[in-house]
């Protein structure tokens, strides 16, 4: 097990090295950074001076080493536009995104697995058919349409929930949360549902397919022949066996939730990192883009590591060897 984790860690380092190289190359390929920093009327001397000051005349490898060295200390430089340290900006915005992703992941898991099991067991009931038909909407409609429709229905017509922002937040010093106030919960509900819908559908369909598969296996037949109750067969024997492939997909998709949050945050004006990234793209704010890239990759790598460890917990065949 230790060997396995070490191997995965080594792979993670490789991934991070490649991603950091790509983020670094943004500085050189997305326009001239100096142009982005100084105004139209800057003199040639000023430009040269800034180039020298930023170290842009050094060999490319030296620059990359400096980028990685700084990044390891959490320093991604100054935002071109806001002129504040990028890491401060990210840390300010991060709680909003993490809470949004967390809440929508919970929604997607609870409803996805629950409905998946239900539709897998009662595959011919009208409720299953209805759930499956409706779930098609979840996959086929783009996130922003769903978001806007939800805003229109719940915020404009019914006026139950706010349409944008985080609502009331509580500052815990190192973390601002919207999960401690009623107003905050009201605000997070619509964006979280919007974000989770696609994942929920995916998990639902996957769990259902796995469930149908597992219900046909010999050990389920044998469990029935021993007179075990349906509840035990469905939730003890079948569900756990569906989880191994489901964990893989869920792991990858929590990463996707973070990536998709860019659109959702824009639609709901949610002050998270996704919205910040979109604004950075608009203004070619390269340091923010580069940092966001590294940060998302880091999350992906971290989640995948957790998923790999979860395999060990769930499946004794991996844990104990063949």
């Amino acid at each position: 097990m230790l060997l396995f984790i070490l191997k995965r860690l080594a792979q993670s380092f490789l991934v991070m090295a490649v991603v950091s190289a790509i983020s670094f190359s943004l500085f050189n390929f997305v326009g001239d950074p100096v142009n982005n920093m100084v105004g139209q009327d800057a003199t040639r001397e000023q430009r040269v001076e800034i180039r020298e000051k930023l170290g842009l005349n050094d060999p490319i490898l030296t620059q990359y080493a400096r980028f990685v060295g700084n990044a390891l200390q959490g320093d991604f430089g100054l935002s071109y536009r806001i002129r504040r340290p990028v890491d401060d900006l990210i840390m300010e915005r991060l709680p909003a995104t993490i809470e949004l992703v967390f809440v929508s992941a919970i929604i997607a898991l609870v409803f996805g697995i629950g409905l998946g099991v239900y539709t897998g067991i009662k595959r011919n009931s009208w409720i299953s058919r209805a759930v499956l038909s409706i779930s098609l909407v979840g996959v086929s409609l783009p996130t922003f349409i769903i978001g806007i429709s939800l805003i229109y229905l719940f915020a404009v017509i019914l006026r139950w929930l706010p349409s944008s922002g985080r609502g009331g937040t509580v500052d815990l010093g190192w973390w601002t949360t919207s999960l401690l106030t009623v107003d905050g919960w009201r605000s997070i509900l619509l964006p979280a549902i919007t974000l989770s819908l696609f994942q929920m559908t995916l998990i639902l369909r996957l769990v259902r397919a796995e469930m149908l598969e597992v219900m046909r296996t010999d050990y389920i037949k044998f469990a029935r022949a021993r007179g075990l109750s349906d509840r035990s067969i469905h939730f003890v024997h079948a569900l756990r066996n569906t989880l191994v492939p489901v964990i893989t997909v869920i792991g990858l998709n929590i990463g996707a939730l973070i990536a998709f949050s860019v659109i959702t945050e824009t639609v709901f004006q949610w002050p998270g990192t996704g919205l910040m990234f979109i604004q950075a793209v608009n203004f070619v704010d390269v340091p923010i883009m580069a940092a966001y890239l590294v940060f998302v990759a880091l999350l992906f790598v971290f989640i995948n590591l957790i998923v790999d460890i979860l395999y060990f917990v769930v499946d004794p065949r991996i844990r104990l060897g063949g």
């Binding site: 060997l3 022949a225 021993r226 007179g227 075990l228």
Partner: protein, 571 residues
């Protein structure tokens, strides 16, 4: 009470799009306590259906159409699902064929046992655990208490089947239905499991229904036997009477088709009673045909296959420290020669390395050390050389599983023609097609099979396709890896006869791998016995059966099901 279970005039139907299929018609059976009833028949005869119908677990959309299932004086057909669930496990236990798949891989056997015990009996908590330990001990698992925390994959196949039996007994049932309980197991394990079932049956006065296709199992364990054919019970009676002096034509031909270990026959007896099982199709004259020409064997070389000090290890578990690594010596210093035109039998239990040897010769694995010569050409040291490639082409394989060894998305023509096209051994596509047609005729399928897909054929027919495909590269050497172990006895007989004929017509050298001693007795000229990757004994067939030298060969021969019952004189 002398009667535990009585089935009266049972009909089971499977409604399909093409009308209703009757899986069982007018079946009547009885089982008494302490009695083993054998239910024997070939695949599709409806024998498993009966077992599933008794505990009301028929696969949908199957249903019992009419008849009675009287268990301990009550008709189970009047029970609803809730009452039926209390019958399952607690009063009727069930054992399935494959111990690899019957246990939930994610739960320890203790968890599975305790759950079943708590469901079916009044034992709770510690008492349930204690009962689980007792059950494991009763089925012959040592250190039972420690083994409770083990997962199914940590047990061998035979041990797993013991756990399955313990689970079936967990609710202390009065009737146990065992559906092919030993089919997936080796002979020595089979003998142990059958002994165990018989002992439990006597000790606990259990009624046992044992469903099997294997006459040998019936002869060993059953008191009475019911023979099923196409959903009907054609004959019932005491085992000695039914096997020794069968009355029904089907029973007669079925028993005649069982390969005999006690004497050698020219050909396998095929089951004539079943229409369409015999081979049809025009035979070709192999000497003048493309198939007989251009074969590359050099008659001066006598030893067609030569293996010397062959070794191969498989790594089971990798680790940084050497002592934590687990390796298995799949092939351990194997030296063997096969002479031209000879059929060499390779016999052993699963894990003995016999298939690995075949794969080494076919070039599917590379040995860690040692020498393989095919037709005098060393194929190990320079596996990519032209000579080695040429030699390899002379070796063809026929695999065990007729379902996974054919590409389901290719037409039969393309499957058979692939080696011809790959080696460009014909002048034109028209000639290729003509040859494929001839080959299909010759193996008894008929040229019309060429445009169809593998899934349209039965297991035996698929094995014929595999044989045609192997012949298409004009081999000198045919390696048959358990070619008939997935087939019914009647089909097995026709396939083995076909292989025998081909071997004689074409003068093929054959390596025939099997765990089935009666089959190998009929097929092979010489036999090599393998165990744990090493060869124990190589001897001419008759000498091995008459006077085995190695202790393990004797052990294997002892385990063969006794066939005395089949002789009318003995019975």
């Amino acid at each position: 009470m002398t009667e535990l279970l009585r089935i009266n005039d049972l009909d089971v139907e499977f409604p399909t799009r093409h009308g209703v299929v009757k899986a069982a018609r007018g079946v009547s059976l009885t089982v008494a306590p302490g009695e083993v009833l054998g239910l024997v028949g070939e695949s599709g005869a409806g024998k498993s259906t009966i077992g599933n119908a008794i505990i009301n677990l028929l696969e949908r959309p199957g249903r019992v159409a009419s008849g009675e299932i009287v268990f301990q004086g009550e008709d189970l057909r009047t029970y609803d699902e809730d009452r039926m669930r209390k019958v399952r496990g607690a009063r009727i236990g069930m054992i399935f064929q494959d111990p690899q798949t019957s246990l939930n891989p994610l739960l320890t056997i203790g968890q599975q046992l305790v759950e079943t015990i708590q469901k079916a009996t009044t034992h709770r908590g510690q008492a349930a655990t204690a009962h689980a330990v007792e059950l494991l001990e009763a089925v012959g698992i040592t250190e039972a208490r420690a083994r409770l925390n083990a997962y199914p994959h940590q047990f061998s196949g035979g041990m797993r089947q013991r756990v399955v039996i313990a689970l079936a007994l967990a609710g202390d049932p009065d009737l146990v239905i065992a559906d092919e309980p030993t089919t997936a197991l080796d002979v020595s394990i089979q003998a142990q499991i059958l002994d165990l079932l018989k002992r439990l049956c006597r000790e606990r006065a259990l009624g046992v229904i044992i469903v099997t296709h294997d006459i040998g199992v019936i002869a060993n364990i059953a008191d009475r036997v019911a023979v099923m054919f196409r959903g009907e019970v054609v004959e019932t009676g005491k085992v000695a009477q039914v096997l020794g002096a069968p009355r029904h034509t089907y029973t007669k031909s079925l028993i005649a088709a069982v390969p005999r270990a006690d004497r050698r026959l020219e050909r396998f007896t095929s089951v004539d009673y079943i229409e369409g099982s015999g081979a049809s199709g025009a035979k070709i004259d192999v000497r003048s045909h493309w198939l007989g020409k251009g074969r590359r064997g050099d008659p001066n070389i006598r030893d067609v296959i030569e293996l010397k000090d062959l070794n191969l290890e498989f790594v089971l578990q990798r680790a940084i420290r050497k002592k934590n690594r687990k390796v298995v010596r799949a092939v351990d210093n194997v030296s063997l020669t096969v002479q031209r035109g000879e059929v060499l039998g390779l016999v052993g239990e699963s894990g003995s390395g016999k298939s690995t040897v075949a794969r080494l010769i076919a070039g599917l694995y590379n040995p860690d050390s040692g020498l393989i010569r095919i037709e005098g050409t060393d194929v190990v040291s320079q596996p990519r050389s032209a000579g080695a490639r040429k030699a390899r082409r002379l070796v063809q394989m026929i695999f065990q599983d007729p379902y996974s060894s054919l590409n389901a998305r290719m037409r039969v023509r393309d499957i058979v023609a692939e080696p011809i096209r790959f080696y460009r051994t014909t002048e034109s596509e028209a000639e290729t097609r003509r040859i494929v047609g001839d080959l299909l005729e010759h193996v008894g399928l008929g040229a019309a099979a060429a445009t169809r897909y593998p899934h349209e054929f039965s297991g035996g027919q698929r094995q014929r396709i595999s044989i045609a495909r192997a012949l298409a590269s004009r081999p000198e050497i045919l390696i048959c890896d358990e070619p008939t172990s997935a087939l019914d006895v009647s089909v097995q007989a026709t396939i083995l006869n076909l292989l025998k004929d081909l071997q004689e017509e074409l003068g093929l050298t054959m390596l025939f791998i099997t765990h089935d001693l009666p089959v190998i007795r009929q097929m092979a000229d010489r036999i090599a016995v393998m165990r744990n990757g090493a060869i124990c004994e190589v001897a001419p067939t008759d000498r091995l059966f008459a006077a085995p030298e190695h202790e393990y060969s004797r052990h294997l021969l002892d385990l063969m099901p006794r066939m005395d019952l089949l002789d009318p004189d003995a019975a």
